[in-house]
Symmetry: C2
Subunit: 247 residues, 2 copies
């Protein structure tokens, strides 16, 4: 936690936030917080700033007088993801929030394991704390990535993608077996700064050729990270890292 984020309803009219969960424990045990100490704070989906500890109760509740005036960094990429195993997904979610993903669209590609869709991870009560952890790690953003589930991949790509992503967004599909296809010229680094980006990352077994063709018909260009076959979470972080704008 490099910045403590509070939910709007945790901050009272006087601008005092009160927590007694993992954030309170972090403030006391890791940051060695005492009354008067100033922390980096912010409001979930709101502004960032600082907060001064005004009280630490014997039951562990920490009170922080906050002053939030700074605009957070905005998300810069939407991620279309064929969900990996829940275990992999769970460790990927906070990293996506840290790295600046705005929307995560989980799609039913052919090689997605069917039993994934029943995972508890798809419940907002489960994934939201993971995403907020990622925002608190990154320390410069506050907007919780939105998660959409679209099990019919073809319908999503053909009928919904353009309206959702904006017609002007650049589109890249990760495809480890790209050698047979048209390989996109390597764009300059940090090119995410040029405008919104949509990145599509397939399942562990890869996209089918039909799926890649469907994306290519919608303007996606293939992108490979070389001959190594990367796990979904590695590949996603690696591609986001290569595309992230310098800010």
């Amino acid at each position: 936690m490099n910045r403590i984020l509070f939910e709007p309803d945790e901050i009272d009219d006087a601008g005092v936030a009160r927590v007694r969960d993992a954030r309170a424990a972090h403030i006391v045990n890791v940051l060695h917080g005492t009354v008067g100490l100033t922390l980096k704070t912010g409001e979930v989906n709101g502004l960032l700033g600082t907060g001064e500890i005004t009280a630490i109760a014997s039951d562990g509740e920490v009170a922080v007088q906050v002053r939030h005036t700074d605009a957070p960094l905005a998300p810069w990429v939407d991620l279309i993801l064929a969900p990996p195993r829940p275990r992999v997904m769970k460790r990927l979610l906070p990293q996506l929030a840290t790295l600046g993903v705005g929307r995560l669209i989980l799609v039913g590609a052919q090689k997605v394991e069917k039993d994934f869709w029943g995972a508890t991870l798809l419940k907002e009560a489960i994934y939201r704390p993971l995403l907020i952890d990622g925002l608190m790690q990154g320390a410069v953003a506050s907007r919780v990535p939105e998660i959409l589930v679209r099990r019919n991949f073809r319908t999503f790509v053909q009928d919904e993608l353009d309206a959702l992503a904006g017609a002007s967004a650049r589109r890249i599909v990760a495809h480890p077996y790209a050698d047979g296809g048209a390989r996109a010229a390597e764009p300059p680094r940090g090119d995410g700064a040029d405008g919104p980006l949509v990145l599509a990352v397939g399942p562990e077994g890869g996209w089918t050729e039909a799926e890649v063709a469907l994306l290519e018909a919608k303007g996606f260009v293939r992108r490979s990270l070389g001959p190594r076959i990367l796990r979904t979470d590695t590949a996603t972080v690696a591609l986001l890292a290569r595309l992230v704008p310098a800010d």
Copy 2:
């Protein structure tokens, strides 16, 4: 497992490998292996090639006639890492092997939690299978990353680094708070192809200025991934992804 790797002593003089562990289960359950099926295989620290399943015993033992003639991809980067929490370290290790790390030097930076050094993860019997899993994921390399532990950071950097890394290797230190210091010009992408690389990634709390100065005195240039503060594993994967040669 995109390639099954066998230890040299698992392959008999006739070139038949026999396994009954997670690899056997993967061959049967995930690859739907049957007698006659050809798999991508290889030898740990040796050549790569293919193997044909010759028997699947009722006790789960799988026998594979292997033919290994292809050179694996060589590692391209040594990583100096201030170890993160064992939980983070455990999920990072396979990814390092996948991404082509040759040597992993775990160093005692000031902000490394002291209790890490007792972690069972530092035992070869624990970390080696994780590294081999990463090689089997990547499917193009077979050399198990070597792990060195150097708790005295200053002594390692001043007295041992040059001999270990080679004087000509390019040297980059990840430093999220680089704005105050001399920021390295962004090298072209895939520049790892220009020669060996040494990358230094600090602890969760960051390098101290003294530690960065020590590295800079040895020719390391600072590299930041922008304003977001990344977890150690995210930062390491992100930096490796930005530096990996195209092969």
